[in-house]
């Protein structure tokens, strides 16, 4: 479903991604690990179309559709979702209203009728219960005043509301306490389906123990340098990246 081929990208003329290739089939969960600065978050931003990054080579396609030719909004309408590592705070904007705006934007783009505020509210209640997020968060301002963990959980809530076919979750597990981690893992597992692809960017094995990946990759210096099963994650946890990444990583 996701086909990234030989992707290169830079920011401020500084090359970050350098010939990255990654293929994920529908129904699969892939994990991406790698040392700090290897380009993991950059990958997520480039797939989403962040304006600060320039693609200098390669391609990104979802179900055959060339993503690089699309605006960020259009990519979202195609069913691409990024769970951000540092979700942005937008004070003054109501959390539930933001979700409704995003939900209806996608409905409109896919020629489906938009939901009324009342109907959306019902849908939101359902989804919040599914990911165990307190309904009080409907009244909060978008990420403003949220703890780090609350922000991450808000990202997962957005994912289950928007129902993308490709979800890239960037360090969703960082900053979560044990219970929150379990709740997030339950949410992701419930979201798995034969028609969806999920990419988990993470530093730690513990999320991968709860959400078992089909493939684990190591990203270093802007490209995938190793791929394997979940035992690769175990190896990294016990031995670090030595032997997997180049000396100048």
């Amino acid at each position: 479903m996701l086909a990234i081929d030989n992707l290169s990208a830079s920011v401020n003329d500084h090359k970050i991604l350098d010939g990255l290739t990654l293929h994920v089939k529908a129904g699969e969960v892939h994990a991406i690990m790698g040392p700090n600065g290897s380009g993991k978050s950059t990958l997520a931003k480039v797939v989403a179309g962040h304006p600060a990054f320039a693609v200098t080579g390669g391609s990104v396609a979802v179900d055959g559709v060339d993503l690089l030719a699309l605006e960020p909004e259009e990519r979202a309408h195609q069913g691409v979702f990024i769970g951000w590592q540092y979700p942005i705070e937008v004070p003054g904007v109501n959390n539930a209203e933001f979700l409704r705006l995003a939900y209806n934007a996608k409905r409109k783009a896919t020629a489906q009728p938009e939901l009324s505020a009342k109907d959306f509210d019902r849908l939101l209640d359902e989804r919040m219960a599914a990911v165990e997020v307190d309904v009080a968060f409907k009244d909060r301002q978008l990420n403003a005043g949220f703890s780090g963990g609350q922000k991450k959980r808000n990202e997962i809530l957005q994912m289950v509301v928007l129902e993308p076919k490709l979800a890239i979750l960037d360090e969703t597990d960082s900053g979560l306490d044990v219970d929150a981690l379990r709740a997030v893992a339950r949410g992701i597992n419930a979201f798995r389906s034969p028609t969806r692809a999920i990419v988990l960017i993470t530093h730690y094995e513990r999320l991968l123990e709860l959400v078992e990946p089909d493939v684990v990759h190591v990203l270093s210096a802007g490209r995938i340098v190793a791929s394997g099963g979940k035992e690769l994650a175990r190896r990294i946890e016990t031995q670090g990246y030595d032997g997997l990444v180049g000396g100048d990583a």
């Binding site: 962040h50 937008v90 705006l101 996608k106």
Partner: protein, 481 residues
């Protein structure tokens, strides 16, 4: 040079070719007498004007505001311009809509203000002022049946001279400031409202000001009196055609509330702001607005959404004289292009147990400058005064500036005065957060700005709230990045 975006952004930029009566240029006693004569004014009003002229000529132009503009040559302006009735001698008042130049009526229709009785906006009585003259006032009979007087200032001078003589200049005296003195000498037309005791005005009242003659200065005068226990909600809208010259708009608005009365005054101002890239042209909006809560437990609230004018310089204020009186100021001031705003309010606490609330939101985009200047003054005898001020600025883009000058002058130890301020930006990251979720940049800006302004938009009358929100979004297009 204007871009298609500019044309779309200022859709009121059209002008109407209409014959007009003017009095040549310059400011002197002859011009004043001619104006007074053309309006057939009683002696007391001519005296008022002449006294004001003398005061004005002896005053010096104020330069303390944080706004920059080339010196105005007051002798080069025209001080009177009235759309001439087809084939008739100049007259300051129209007997019926049939006498008004059809092009003028069409102008108001184009602006969304139909004036014919059948098509008149339901629920809102409108006084339409084209350049210096009030052209029509809708629903007058229905209002009169309720005892409410709502007419042009000039009509009121003729029909209710005693009221005018009693209240004119009682809130903003002739010598109050330079532009008030000027206005008092040459004021054109405006609106007059009187609500009798214990009457709740059945309709919202509204005046729509349209500047057409870009050579003339605009000097409206508005006076609203709410007698004991009365209530009125008044809306003011303003637009002007595009011009490469600057136009001076120096209005004076006086409000008076007696015991237990309330006036709610809302403004959506979208005067032509000048070329967005060069700053050429645009209206200078130098206005004095003041409300006096003369009576016990009376209330005056000002709500303004300022999105236009090359320069906005105004401080709608409240004098809280009556015990228990309440003053409120809710403002959204948006500047873009090369606009400059120096605006805020003055709340003067004189009586006991008085309260004031100030919520000011400034949004500065492009290369504009946005200043909040506010005064909260508590007099020595003002026991238990309360003030809450919240002053927020939002910067859009990289070149705009926002400044705040709060003056807090408390002379009574029982007062409680609170002041909060914040500054924020619409960042590229915030916009990307929205677009990455499938929401267009335009909707994102709209949501963020609306969230920023929501406390103010919430107190606008419904008709204005939707329009204000759209206007704000439109003005911020192409501003980020």
């Amino acid at each position: 040079m204007t871009t298609p975006d500019d044309d779309q952004a200022y859709k009121y930029g059209f002008s109407t070719a209409v014959e007009a009566v003017t009095f040549g240029r310059g400011l002197n006693e002859d011009v004043i007498r001619a104006i007074s004569n053309a309006r057939d004014e009683p002696a007391f009003l001519l005296e008022f004007r002449l006294k004001a002229l003398k005061t004005f000529l002896a005053m010096e132009e104020p330069t303390w505001a944080a706004v920059d503009y080339p010196k105005i040559d007051f002798q080069q302006l025209q001080y009177y311009s009235a759309p001439r009735k087809a084939g008739e001698k100049d007259k300051a008042k129209y007997d019926s809509l049939a006498d008004v130049d059809p092009d003028v009526i069409a102008t108001f229709e184009k602006l969304g203000i139909p004036l014919g009785e059948q098509k008149a906006l339901a629920g809102v009585a409108v006084d339409a002022v084209f350049d210096s003259v009030s052209v029509a006032t809708t629903h007058q009979k229905r209002l009169f049946d309720a005892g409410v007087i709502f007419c042009s200032f000039n009509e009121a001078v003729h029909l209710f001279p005693a009221l005018i003589e009693r209240w004119l200049g009682s809130v903003v005296p002739v010598a109050d400031n330079y532009y008030a003195a000027l206005n008092s000498a040459v004021f054109s037309d405006g609106s007059f409202v009187y609500i009798p005791p214990y009457v709740r005005c059945p309709l919202e009242l509204s005046t729509y000001f349209r500047i057409n003659n870009t050579e003339a200065g605009q000097f409206e005068r508005t006076l609203i009196i709410a007698d004991v226990g009365a209530y009125v909600s008044y809306l003011e809208g303003c637009t002007a055609p595009k011009s490469s010259k600057h136009q001076l708009h120096a209005a004076v608005v006086e409000l008076v509330t007696l015991d237990e009365a309330e006036i709610k005054y809302s403004t959506v101002q979208n005067w032509y702001a000048g070329d967005r890239a060069t700053g050429e042209g645009g209206v200078y909006n130098f206005v004095t607005k003041r409300g006096a809560c003369r009576g016990r437990n009376s209330k005056i609230s000002w709500t303004q959404v300022e999105t236009g004018s090359a320069i906005t310089w105004k401080y709608p204020s409240c004098i809280l004289q009556g015990d228990g009186s309440v003053g409120e100021f809710y403002s959204v001031a948006l500047t873009n292009g090369k606009m400059q705003a120096d605006t805020g309010t003055k709340m003067v606490h004189l009586g006991r147990d008085t309260r004031s609330t100030i919520i000011s939101k400034g949004i500065a985009a492009d290369s504009s400058s946005n200043v909040y200047r506010g005064l909260v003054r508590v007099h020595p005898k003002a026991e238990n005064a309360r003030n809450y001020t919240q002053c927020d600025s939002m910067l859009v883009g990289k070149n705009s500036t926002a400044h705040t000058y709060p003056y807090i002058d408390v002379n009574n130890p029982t007062a409680q005065v609170e002041h909060e301020a914040s500054t924020s930006k619409i960042s590229e990251d915030q916009l990307f957060y929205f677009t990455s979720r499938g929401v267009s940049e335009e909707d994102a800006i709209s949501a963020i700005v609306s969230g920023f302004c929501k406390e103010v938009l919430a107190v606008l009358p419904l008709e204005f709230a939707a329009e204000a929100h759209k206007l704000l979004t439109l003005k911020l297009e192409n501003s980020v990045g």
